[in-house]
């Protein structure tokens, strides 16, 4: 089953074309790793998927993206962002809000919990799923800015999971983390793909090899090659892909 599909997608900032007729389908319940050199448009593509691109007034988007076959630009943007959540390279919890509030705020604003008990339960479940609960359960009221980088990133995962999203977009979520926290996030993503579709942008071929089911290789705003992870690493069809996975293209 295809969860997300881009058809002839084009994005430009002002008159600089960044994504130029991109086609990609992302299978449900899997991890698709999005790789490609810096500036190839990976982050831009993720921002189209949840329409955060609309925060950039100079960005123009053409073509189509379908979520479960439905044009995402026809879906109410609030519903879309609830269903398609995103975590970023630099963890971005609201630093002066408490750990609890960081997860609870989105639920409150979107009226996703009927009462305080349900709110607490959903926050707790999200923190548990993000493997953070045990570390923070005694200081839920401490400001999120006091957490370590790795914990902050897991808090952002929890904040996303609280929405019970169908798709999780992860933009280099481990780029700023040490190996131990990286391993935690990777284990977490592997666990989460049972419940949702994950698109993972990564610069580390090893990371893609460890946890992804599919790899899509992006170059200058187009998908050069896409296939099962094993195939991409063992028999890449495209020269650029081979260069990249062997570390000869940045």
């Amino acid at each position: 089953m295809t969860k997300l599909e881009a058809k002839n997608l084009q994005v430009s900032f002002g008159n600089v074309a960044v994504i130029t007729g991109l086609n990609l389908s992302i299978p449900e319940g899997s991890i698709t790793a999005l790789m490609g050199p810096s500036g190839s448009g990976k982050s831009t593509l993720l921002r189209v998927f949840n329409r955060l691109i609309e925060l950039y007034p100079e960005a123009h988007v053409g073509g189509y993206v379908y979520l479960d076959g439905q044009d995402i630009f026809e879906i109410d943007v609030i519903e879309l962002r609830r269903r398609v959540q995103m975590i970023f390279q630099i963890p971005n919890p609201i630093p002066n809000l408490s750990i609890f509030e960081n997860v609870a705020l989105g639920l409150k604003l979107n009226r996703l919990a009927k009462n305080r008990k349900e709110l607490y339960q959903r926050v707790k479940t999200a923190l548990e799923k993000a493997q953070l609960w045990d570390e923070v359960k005694d200081r839920l009221n401490a400001p999120a800015g006091k957490l370590s980088g790795g914990q902050q990133q897991r808090l952002c995962v929890a904040r996303s999971l609280a929405f019970e999203p169908e798709v999780l977009l992860a933009d280099e979520p481990t780029a700023n983390l040490d190996p131990e926290n990286t391993a935690k996030i990777e284990a977490l993503l592997l666990d989460l793909k049972k419940e949702m579709t994950i698109v993972l942008v990564t610069h580390f071929p090893q990371q893609a090899a460890r946890i992804s089911d599919y790899v899509a290789f992006l170059y200058k705003g187009q998908i050069v090659e896409r296939g099962p992870t094993k195939d991409i690493f063992t028999k890449p069809r495209h020269e650029l892909t081979e260069k990249y996975v062997t570390g000869r293209l940045y």
Binding site: N50, E58, F88, L109
Partner: protein
């Protein structure tokens, strides 16, 4: 480092320290002067409680205070601050976040001009507007409203209280004063809010939109929490600023030495200081010093709570 450079370095540093001290000395001198004269005056005019509650001294009396002007200052400052914040904050969000919209740019220019306006012109403007709308306002809205209230409440004590706040307006009244103070505060709050929002890092802005749902929530709830400290400081310091304003009140509240309804001329501590310092009577000049100490206390409390809040976070 050669020894000449060392010496020059020392001289440079010394000059900076001296400048810093020179800048703060007048501030402390003013504060000490006002409190020493003010506290002495309050004691001689009948003590603190008497001073805070009784009417200003007439030229030949021996005691008195700033009761009516103090009530006026508190009432008009509170209303002005609420109004100034209620309008200035969303205006600032608009200017700070919609930077690419033409109208937002025009608003930014307007606000930058308004913040530099002599505040007396703001008072004159409100006076002029008041002159235009007063008759219709009283005839079609406030007159009927107060008649209805009177019919509903009868001649009870309660109606007496209400009529101090609601009723047909004179051309000088507390609401005109509060409106002028709000106009002074709007651009101030708007500019601080705008720069606070504009300085929010893009990742946090994206987080706000990612979890906020509708744009209103992202901007006014999630991002407000991100910048809450700056916005609170803006509100407190803006309030402190208008609490001490005199010029915008001259043509709007006008001043009053007696306890009187807010629908007519209303006193303010700053106006009393201004009026009393012009008189030849020693007792009134003394009361002006006491009034200055009271006003300074209000302003210092607002400033210090802004600082404490900032340090606490």
């Amino acid at each position: 480092m050669t020894s000449t450079r060392k010496v020059l370095n020392w001289i440079g540093m010394g000059l900076f320290v001296l400048l810093g001290v020179a800048a703060t000395i007048p501030l402390f001198l003013i504060i000490i002067d006002i409190y020493s004269k003010g506290i002495d005056a309050i004691n001689r005019l009948g003590g603190l409680w008497h001073f805070l509650t009784s009417e200003p001294p007439s030229p030949l009396s021996k005691s008195g205070g700033v009761g009516p002007p103090l009530i006026g200052t508190l009432y008009m400052t509170a209303l002005g601050a609420i109004g100034g914040f209620a309008l200035g904050f969303p205006l600032g969000v608009y200017i700070g976040e919609m930077r690419r919209e033409k109208l937002a740019n025009a608003a930014r220019v307007g606000v930058n001009v308004l913040v530099e306006f002599p505040t007396i012109t703001i008072g004159l403007f409100v006076y002029a507007v008041m002159g235009l709308v007063q008759d219709d306002l009283n005839r079609y809205i406030l007159g009927p409203v107060s008649a209805t209230l009177k019919a509903a409440l009868g001649n009870s004590v309660f109606y007496n209280y209400v009529s101090w706040f609601v009723g047909p307006l004179d051309s000088f009244n507390a609401y005109a004063g509060a409106a002028a103070l709000a106009l002074v505060m709007i651009p101030y709050v708007a500019l601080i809010t705008a720069s606070a929002y504009a300085s929010v890092a893009q990742p946090l802005r994206e987080a706000a939109y990612g979890i906020g749902g509708r744009e209103f929530n992202a901007l006014f709830i999630v991002m407000r929490k991100v910048v809450s400290r700056a916005v609170l400081t803006a509100a407190l310091i803006g309030t402190a600023k208008i609490a001490g304003e005199t010029a915008p009140l001259l043509f709007t509240a006008f001043g009053n030495n007696y306890y009187a309804p807010f629908t007519g001329s209303t006193g303010a501590v700053s106006l009393w200081i201004y009026a009393a310092s012009e008189t030849p009577y020693n007792v009134q000049i003394m009361s002006a010093y006491g009034a200055a100490a009271v006003l300074l206390t209000i302003i210092l409390i607002l400033f210090i709570s802004a600082r404490i809040k900032a340090i606490h976070d």
